[in-house]
C-alpha cells in the first residue's frame, strides 16, 4: 500500500542544526518532505546550508536572522548538533567534559532561548515546537558515557524545565527531548566502527527489536513532535531505541 506523504507541516519553518549528516540530515529532509521550509545549519555546512557553531551566542543570532530572511519566520527548532565522546573517567580530562557540555547543553540552551525569542516576536501567545536530540545515555547508565551521557542528561532536564516554563508563561511553545538508542550515523561509525561493531551479535541482536536505529527512525519522531498531531505533548522525553533501556 502506498500512502501519500502527509503535508502536515506546510507553511511552517524549521531550523535544524547539525544538518550536514546523520540524524540532522534525515530530519531536515523529512521535515521538508512534509511541507516545511527548512534551514539546515552545520559547523561544516553543505551547499545551501548555513555555517553555524552552536556554542556561540552570536552565531545563534545570525542563524535565526538567516532563517527569517530566507523563510520569514521560525516555528520548529531541532537542536541536533552534537559530538561523541566515550571513555573511562580515569582517562578523562576537563577539556573533554567541557566540550561535551558546551556543544550539547550550551548549544541546546542558546538555541532554545534564541528560538523562543523569535517565536515570541511572531505571535502572542507564541507557538512553536522545540526538539532537543538527547540520548538514552542521558536516561540510564551506559559504559564510558561519563561526559556524553552527563551532557545528554542535562538536555533531557532542559527540555522538561523549558516545556513547563513555556506553559506556565501562557505560550504554546512545546519543548521535548528525543532519546535515540544506538543509531548508525557518520558520528557513531567514527566512534564505534563499521559493520564489525553494528552487526556484532552482542551489540544489538539482544535488544527486543534485534537491530539498531537508522537516522530516518529518529527523523520520524522529530516530524511527529513538530506536527500538530503532538499538540498535547510537551516537556516529555521520547525514546527511540528498539527497547534498549528496557533490557540493558
Amino acid at each position: 500500500m502506498v500512502r501519500p506523504m502527509k503535508q502536515d507541516l506546510a507553511g511552517q519553518v524549521a531550523l535544524v542544526t547539525g544538518a550536514a549528516s546523520g540524524i540532522g540530515a534525515a530530519s531536515a529532509a523529512l521535515l521538508a518532505a512534509r511541507g516545511a521550509a527548512v534551514l539546515g545549519t552545520d559547523i561544516r555546512p553543505l551547499p545551501g546550508q548555513f555555517g553555524h557553531d552552536v556554542t556561540d551566542p552570536d552565531a545563534w543570532d545570525a542563524a535565526i536572522a538567516e532563517c527569517v530572511a530566507r523563510h520569514g519566520r521560525l516555528d520548529i527548532l531541532v537542536s541536533n548538533a552534537g559530538t561523541a565522546d566515550f571513555g573511562t573517567i580515569i582517562d578523562m580530562d576537563m577539556a573533554r567534559l567541557r566540550q561535551q557540555a558546551r556543544v550539547h547543553v550550551e548549544g541546546a540552551f542558546l538555541g532554545s532561548r534564541a528560538a523562543i525569542t523569535q517565536m515570541r516576536r511572531q505571535a502572542n501567545p507564541a507557538t512553536g515546537s522545540i526538539i532537543l536530540i538527547a540520548s538514552i545515555a542521558g536516561l540510564k547508565p551506559i559504559m564510558q558515557t561519563t561526559t556524553y551521557g552527563t551532557a545528554k542528561a542535562a538536555m533531557v532536564a532542559l527540555a522538561a524545565a523549558l516545556g513547563q516554563e513555556m506553559a506556565a508563561a501562557g505560550d504554546r511553545i512545546r519543548v521535548n527531548a528525543i532519546c535515540p538508542g544506538g543509531t548508525r550515523t557518520a558520528m557513531t561509525e567514527e566512534a564505534f566502527g563499521g559493520d564489525e561493531y553494528w552487526d556484532r551479535p552482542d551489540s544489538f541482536a539482544k535488544l527486543p527489536l534485534k537491530d539498531y536505529a537508522r537516522a530516518d527512525d529518529v527523523a520520524e519522531q522529530v516530524a511527529f513532535l513538530a506536527s500538530p498531531d503532538s499538540a498535547a505533548i510537551n516537556a516529555a522525553q521520547h525514546i527511540v531505541d528498539g527497547g534498549w533501556v528496557l533490557t540493558a
Binding site: 500512502r3 516554563e165 527489536l209 511527529f224 498531531d229 498535547a232 505533548i233 516529555a236 527497547g243
Partner: protein, 210 residues
C-alpha cells in the same frame, strides 16, 4: 493478502467519542479498522475484553480473513475518581479488572494473533496520565494505570521474541481532546514509529509549573 490491501488495526474499546476519534483517524491514515467491545468501525464485533473465549474466536476470524495485522489497540479501561478513604476493595477490584485485566488479556491475544499471522505488529495499551503522575483524588485509577503502563514495558521485552519482533507501547493522556489521543495512537500504530517500543507516550496537555 496482496500488497494493495489496507493494513489492519483492531481496536477494543467501548462506544464513545474517544473510540469514534480513534476509528476516524486510523481510517484517514489508511487502516482497515476492526472494532470490538462496543466501538463501531468498518467491522464491528461483540467482545467482552476479559473473555478469553471471545478473544480466541475473534482473533481466529481476523487471522483467517485478513492474514496480517498491523496494530492492536486495547482501550477498554476507564477512569475512577475517588479518595483512598472512599475506595472500597470492591471498587478497587472492579477498576483493576476493567483496566489491567483487559490490557493483559488483550495483549496476550494480540501476541497470539501476531504470532499466528507472522505479523510485525504494534500493540498499544491506553492508560492515562494518572498512570505516570500520581493523582491525589484517584488512588485506584492511578495504581491501575501505572500497572498497565509498566505491564506494557514488560510485554515489549517479550514482544521482541515474536517472529518477526513486535512492539508494545502505552499511551498516557491527561485531559486532552480525543483527536489528540487518536493522533498519538495512530503514530504508534504506523510504520513511522517502527523503532519505538516499551515507551509511555504521555499527553499531558498544557504542563504547568508546580
Amino acid at each position: 493478502m496482496t500488497g494493495t490491501e489496507k493494513p489492519v488495526a483492531l481496536l477494543v474499546a467501548p462506544a464513545g467519542n474517544l473510540a469514534a476519534a480513534i476509528v476516524a483517524r486510523l481510517t484517514a491514515d489508511g487502516f482497515h479498522v476492526i472494532a470490538a467491545g462496543g466501538a463501531e468501525a468498518h467491522e464491528s464485533h461483540a467482545l467482552d475484553p476479559r473473555d478469553e473465549a471471545g478473544w480466541e474466536t475473534l482473533t481466529a476470524d481476523i487471522a483467517a480473513r485478513h492474514g496480517k495485522v498491523a496494530a492492536v489497540i486495547n482501550a477498554a479501561g476507564h477512569a475512577m475518581v475517588a479518595a483512598v478513604a472512599d475506595t472500597s476493595p470492591a471498587d478497587f477490584r472492579a477498576l483493576w479488572e476493567a483496566n489491567v485485566e483487559s490490557a493483559v488479556i488483550g495483549t496476550k491475544w494480540a501476541f497470539r494473533l501476531l504470532r499466528d499471522t507472522a505479523s510485525a505488529g504494534s500493540v498499544i495499551n491506553l492508560a492515562s496520565l494518572a498512570g505516570v503522575r500520581p493523582r491525589a483524588d484517584a488512588a485506584a485509577w492511578s495504581a491501575a494505570d501505572a500497572a498497565v503502563t509498566h505491564f506494557s514495558k514488560i510485554a515489549a521485552v517479550e514482544a521482541g521474541d515474536l517472529v518477526p519482533p513486535c512492539r508494545v507501547n502505552s499511551v498516557n493522556p491527561g485531559d486532552v481532546a480525543p483527536d489528540q489521543v487518536a493522533a498519538a495512537i495512530a503514530w504508534l500504530a504506523g510504520p513511522q514509529s517502527r523503532f519505538v517500543t516499551g515507551t509511555a507516550l504521555v499527553l499531558a496537555g498544557e504542563v504547568h509549573a508546580r
